[in-house]
Symmetry: C3
Subunit: 165 residues, 3 copies
């Protein structure tokens, strides 16, 4: 059952671990609103396709500005957890990654919360020995809109269909 050294190095666990660290730092800095440091995890020409592609940015500066503008308000409280990393190493210092996101965006002042899940499809590139995110985007599985203080669900969207209450 044990693979030999040659086989082991074909899929280098430490490369995949490095890519996971990159994504974990991304989520940590996102929820701590440290967007400039987050930007250092992106390639300069990184692109995004957040929210099933509805929100797209191109370039590190544009992405950082978008995050600052959307989530920089200290009254917006967020949770972004990335589960189930499915990383595949490619050629030429590239890799792809799938992640299963669960996120909450809570805006107490508006008594509003978004809660949902999504599948990320990322691309990574190794630049000067360090892995960076060159593309990140996700497709929603479901998204709930909630009256925060009461927990009432106003709507849930999944599979292209919205149910309202």
């Amino acid at each position: 059952m044990r693979k030999g050294i040659d086989t082991l190095s074909l899929v280098d666990p430490s490369e995949i671990a490095s890519i996971c660290q990159l994504k974990y730092a991304y989520f940590r800095l996102l929820d701590l609103k440290r967007f400039t440091e987050l930007g250092e995890l992106l390639t300069e020409d990184a692109t995004t396709a957040y929210q099933s592609g509805e929100l797209r940015q191109s370039g590190r500066d544009a992405i950082v500005a978008f995050l600052q503008e959307s989530l920089g308000d200290p009254d917006i409280i967020t949770m972004h957890n990335g589960h189930h990393p499915e990383i595949e190493l490619g050629d030429d210092d590239t890799a792809t990654g799938r992640w299963y996101l669960e996120d909450r965006v809570i805006v107490p002042a508006h008594d509003f919360e978004i809660h949902g899940t999504a599948l990320y499809e990322d691309r990574y590139t190794k630049v000067d020995g360090s892995w960076k995110i060159s593309h990140t985007g996700y497709e929603r599985i479901y998204e709930e809109h909630i009256r925060y203080s009461s927990g009432d669900v106003r709507s849930i969207r999944a599979g292209g269909q919205t149910t309202t209450f």
Copy 2:
């Protein structure tokens, strides 16, 4: 502190990583309702003991049919996240795995949600070079039944005791 190459290969991180990939694909295909592809992750004689053993199936076809029947309705929205993999490699291309599940099953049409956690105890077998799930099952830690639109908890069951509201 560093282990030498010989020791390193005794617990091969890339074997454990492969088993994690298997389980991550299982959860992804489950929540995307791609049950036939999910079946390819199981051995032909795989068995289950879902829901603290109350729900048992035997054989890939029976498992896929059960999942299709229980969760195939597009109006049922699910989240299955597996955390904390504790994988142990055994002899003869076998392995065992513990996982910490958090799951939600949302049925807007019935204004109903199940939300809970559980500990999985899985078994894996390597077939023709690929890891497959040969047994999967979980014991609940807690299970909540919720009136979905209002967030009211109708009941919570944990430790063999149910509290109703």
Copy 3:
């Protein structure tokens, strides 16, 4: 892109995997209320700084006693999930670890729930060949206090500010 064997062993994935196993066992035993076994995962002189440092214990026995006293009641139901491990190996059989916690503490008898997230900063030491937790503590990102049966949020605290409803 592939690292050679020498480089691979510089950050030994199996050491990091062992530390993850340690933390996963900690969470599992915590939510199963098996506190004595949990104590075996700690060094004898382990310290804590739970709840943004408000709750501190020193020594394995004190920590186990604290957990038993706070969470030992079978009517208290907990979920502690640790995500995003950022483990760094140090010198002399030490390591540090960041984790992203999501936790729920549910007390049906008091119709009360705490739900929140936090960032752990842990330290680990290898004792007689086994990794142990020598320090664990976390800083809250947010903490919600909830009327459990109705899902009403009574308050949310984040960034040093509390919003009440």
